[in-house]
């Protein structure tokens, strides 16, 4: 973390401390819930079990929001711009694909559509960093 101020280093460390365990727990809960749901889809526990990975996912999202809140104005601007651009791309892509389903394309799986938003956000964030001549996200 060369060239970072002490405040940035502390903020980054805190972000890692909050996010990495949440990601690990999320992956474990996804795998675990999918394993337990096999053959048990009709039980009363199916719905809460299927939704259980959202709990660590909430903490991942919260740690990102807190990291951005702790950041300075330029970093906040970049994250805000990335969020807006991602939203617009998703909206237009959704409309475009929706129109295409009327001419025969298969219905999309919402899970994968939502999953692709995350890397799209960070790709756009990286492009904005390059635009401002910044070396790292």
């Amino acid at each position: 973390m060369a060239g970072l101020t002490n405040k940035e280093k502390q903020s980054s460390k805190k972000y890692m401390r909050e996010t990495i365990p949440a990601i690990v727990i999320y992956l474990l809960m996804v795998a675990g819930s999918q394993y337990l749901l096999k053959g048990n889809e009709a039980t009363m526990w199916a719905y809460p079990l299927a939704l259980s990975p959202l709990i660590p996912a909430y903490f991942i999202a919260r740690s990102l929001v807190n990291f951005v809140k702790r950041s300075d104005e330029l970093i906040q601007k970049l994250h805000g711009d990335s969020a807006i651009i991602t939203l617009l791309i998703v909206i237009f892509s959704g409309f475009a694909y929706g129109f295409l389903t009327k001419v025969g394309l298969p219905q999309p799986d919402i899970f994968w559509a939502a999953t692709l938003i995350c890397p799209l956000y960070f790709i756009i964030l990286a492009l904005l960093h390059r635009k401002y001549g910044m070396g790292q996200c």
């Binding site: 101020t5 405040k7 104005e73 330029l74 401002y132 001549g133 790292q136």
Partner: protein, 49 residues
């Protein structure tokens, strides 16, 4: 004064200082006032339209 030291004193990232120096980002008014106060100059002496 290095970019890192300036960033530390202003409470922003070194990347922000670098981007301002390269003219790729215009700081907010509070940050601009902070920079002016740090250098003991007026904003108009540091930033130009």
């Amino acid at each position: 004064m290095s970019q890192a030291e300036l960033a530390e004193q202003l409470g922003v990232s070194r990347q922000t200082i670098n981007t301002i120096e390269n003219g790729k980002y215009d700081p907010s008014l509070p940050l601009a006032f902070g920079m002016a106060a740090l250098f003991g100059k007026r904003i108009e002496e540091i930033f130009f339209p």
